[in-house]
Amino acid sequence: MSKKIPMVKVYILGEGFDVPEGSTIINALEYSGFQLTVGVGCREGFCGACGTLYREKGDYKLQAGLACQTVVTDGMNIAQIPFVPAEKPVYDINKLDPDIEAFKVLYPTLFRCVGCNTCTKICPQDIEVMDYVQALIRGDIERAADLSFDCIRCGLCALRCPAEIVQYNAAILARRLTGRYLMPKSPDLENRVKEITEGLFEEELEKLEKSKKETIKKRYYDRDIKTA
């Protein structure tokens, strides 16, 4: 059974290529003979290496998406953005306080936000980027951490920002400050680390380490199982 696959035309570096309908941008590039060395990574939407600008047929708008997650449309015009050379300030997480001061010093451009919402509109993860920038300006670090949680650092927000903000780098700082200082500490975790340091399980583990396979097997199949 040979079914003919319908084709669509895409434009890569301005030149037209026929590719199978339903292809993602990555598949379309490879189908057209481009062997990718940059602008490609996990290919499942987690690493942010394949940020891509495109324009659809008859439209004036520049849109953006991840090349591995965006299906081509007929007449689509594509340009990949493999890397954004944005600034990444260096800091010591141990010496920061989880408040607005850290952002005033490290990311002063945040406070130039003009509220244009371009960052939110371009985000391929549909994150409310401008809202987390505004949260940071208010000093609400936890809110910024929560809103930016799904960021994959493709850098498209920073690329389009008229105020030169590097949103995604500010966001990782917000999340790190939240994880380090603002979320509750788990007493169980502190306790277990202490128990292990004191060698509580050492003797039994050493015994297991030296046990025969059959002994371990028996203990394995005999162990009780709790799922909640």
């Binding site: 499942e44 690493c47 979320m183």
Partner: protein
Amino acid sequence: MYPKYMRESIKKVEKTRPERLKLARSGKSIFPMMSAEEREQVLNNFHPDYKKDARKKVRIGPNKGEKITTEVVNQLEAYSRIKPEYFNLKHPDYETDVLVIGAGSAGFSAALLAAENGADVLLVTKLRIGDSNSMMAQGGIQAAVRPDDNPVLHYLDVMGGGHFDNKPDLVKALVSEAPDAIHWLQELGVMFDRNEDGTMLTKPGGGTCRPRMHSARDYTGAAICRTIRDEVMNRPDQIKILEHQPAVELIKDDKGNTAGAVLYHLENKNYYTVKAKATIITTGGFGRLHVKGFETTNHYGATADGLVVAYRAGANLLYMDSVQYHPTGAVYPPQILGFLCTEKLRGLGAQPVNKDGDLFVHPLEPRDIEASAFIRECIERNKGIETPAGQVGIWLDSPLIEKLSGAGTIKKNLPAMLRQFERFDVDITKDPILVYPTLHYQNGGIEINDHCESQVSGLFVAGEAAGGIHGRNRLMGNSQLDLIVFGRRAGIYAAEYAKKVKLGKLSLVHIIDYDKEVEKIGVDKKHISPMVLPDYTPESVKKRQHTTEYKGTLR
């Protein structure tokens, strides 16, 4: 959106759902766990590793005579990409104490700890830093932290999952350092999910006897990887980074020590040499070899490079006869074929059911057992659902999660999954997901001891590239854990080693010798490894590339 005939099957799933929901709420096991005998039977008959041509004997190198996964043997029995005589090793392009090859979570952990222990570090990677399988892990990281859990139980689970082939010293290190690994990550700022009382939220995973899976929504790997990447980038004075420059060979000295690597710049096509007192391989696995033609969950660069260069340098491999197929790879829609559907779906209550909506396996058996049971259901029992493109799969009943724990549970705990399917018009809160096993993980790797040392002096290994920790089958959440535990160990011990070693004259003689062995067994000159990147160029394009030369898969 699902076509009409698949809708018919979904109706059957919906019909059995209330009964299955009742069962799940009852607290009893929803399907009997397999006994040791049943496990063996389903593996023997249905696991792809047990197919006749799945393995073959490797004819050269440290594991000569051993049966290894066929596609791996094809990489080992190949010529080097480089011509050693072109390299002047007297003037290396870079010099460092510790060279880390690979920039996922194991590489970052190694770089950080090596730096903390006084070493200058050079971190090199094929893609961008962080573009790795570490970043893609969704479900969780194991650590025995709850009061009703302990490292001893964790030890038993790891061993049972690995069919008791694991190296005991490595398992002991893994489970006893797990809580500290979580603590380290928390202090670096990873936002682990919490219960309302502040304790860590933990869920069960396949083969765990306690809910031990710590998570950061379903971006667990990303949350960890991007946090420690940020920390690496905060230390530019100690850790230098080179991107898009994979290591394509190791360099040794005239005393047999590892002494650095040869890098190949993928953009300007230059080769660069690195002289290093100690070298750490954290290059990950081999999903892009597409073992037995399977689709993979792995990133674009997962081509077993580290394994190949270490093998040529004299390091032996362990359990490279064993491949992990993740039970739940996406089958539909076709754009996401082979993509990972996290085990956390099942941890939160999603059940695997066949085309009639019936349960046929416990949802949380160890991965190889679960995957084999899925294959049996489709192949032997003919209870799978075929897609328009001819792939077959079984249903993972995700809407059950919302029924069990309330509307909004998926959005809160599985945002990545929800988004992934929404992009292609499937709403997993309302409709089940079609899944089939997908190539996921390299269970074995370069054999290490609990100091992360391979058999070659000065060559350390951590992460998926290392072998022995997980025996012949890894459990969910133990990979994220081993990246941190053994990444940190590799960094510490490599820094310590670098302080003591006195390197001799640098040499690539081992490459010349190895190439001679390859020639002796009559391998065609066009077989080059490491692969570096897979080749997805269509044949029709290749026909028009009249003067283009391919070196392996690279133009």
